[in-house]
Amino acid sequence: MTILLAILLGIFFGFALQRVGATNPQNIINMMRLKDLHLMKAIFFGIGVSSILLFLLMAVGVIDAGHLSVKSSYGGVIVGGAILGLGFAVAGYCPGTSLTALADGRKDALFFVGGGLLGALIYTLMYGSIQGTWLFNKIAGGKVMLATGSDKFQALLPMIPGTLLALIIGGIFMLIAWKLPDKA
């Protein structure tokens, strides 16, 4: 059953990435050099809509809050994000879009995936020697989210009702998506 879900949900996500133009590195590069923000608008809109629906559906009990999986915050998240950002901007691929770009017949994506496998291997071999460093110092307690809604993860802003906060943040994301210019 989980394997069937993996196939169906994976196909859906891959389909969405291709159809929104995320498998085309031209769109990513033009987003990063602030030339064509169509993809950024789609990403902001997608996050806003899914976040609002997620918290509403959790509040009424349709989605099990136990499905949430909040990743830890530590120095390496920012440093790693920056290293990823450099490669992402030059190549126009991220891990997910490089794999789905293979389905477009893009040969450069194949080289990216090859490099990606090497990068992941280098990290796997290096982890033992960096695991005790400042890079892994937790920020704000580690696995934290802004809104309440989960028993597993601490909320940073517990004084605001979680669903309301998620609605506000999601609304801001949708507003940014709407207001950003398409072409710059």
Binding site: L9, R19, L34, H38, K71, Y123
Partner: protein, 188 residues
């Protein structure tokens, strides 16, 4: 629905994919599976990299500190490649193929070597593109593993859940990525 979707429809479709994934199973993530793929190959040539270990939380352990992390859950997935997260990522490729066949945006023959913005800046020779993109791939997956997730897991799934890590990741990625793209490709 043919060709590339506009930001509104595309955003809805993308958001729906992230929402149904967390509704049925768990938030979407991709970059861990590069480690799993490496591990599967490594495991073919090594008897010690992944071992059954009843004392470990996952039932598996590894001689490698990273694969042994979190109770050996990576070691377990390497030993059992038919697991949700790995199959999900393979299915993504099938989904993109389906979209491309069913009226999705198409890549021209030249686009398949390098996008137009690259060709305008660096010429038509694909070798430079392939070499550069290979090293970019090294950076992206190294960075993603250091961060504990990539654009899917941290940025989209993370910010959807309002996780702090998602915002931190996005700040890091765009703070370096935007100036880098402008420097490499210029604004015009």
């Amino acid at each position: 629905m043919n060709g590339q979707l506009n930001w509104f429809k595309g955003g809805l479709l993308l958001g729906a994919a992230f929402l149904v994934a967390v509704a049925f199973v768990k938030p979407i993530g991709v970059s861990t599976q590069f480690v799993i793929a490496d591990g599967i190959v490594w495991n073919l040539f090594s008897d010690t990299v992944v071992q059954k270990n009843p004392e470990s939380k996952s039932g598996y352990s590894s001689s490698n500190a990273y694969l042994n992390k979190s109770g050996g859950k990576y070691a377990k997935n390497i030993a059992n490649p038919i697991n949700y997260s790995f199959i999900f990522v393979l299915a993504m490729v099938a989904g993109a193929f389906l979209s491309s066949r069913l009226g999705g945006p198409q890549a021209t023959k030249m686009d398949r070597s390098a996008p137009e913005v690259w060709r305008q800046r660096f010429g038509e020779n694909p070798t430079l593109r392939y070499v550069t993109v290979f090293f970019a791939g090294v950076l992206v997956l190294f960075g993603a593993r250091l961060a504990g997730g990539c654009t899917s897991g941290h940025m989209m799934s993370g910010m959807m859940q309002t996780s702090l890590s998602g915002y931190l990741f996005a700040v890091g990625a765009f703070a370096i990525g935007v100036p880098a793209a402008i420097l490499v490709y210029k604004r015009n």
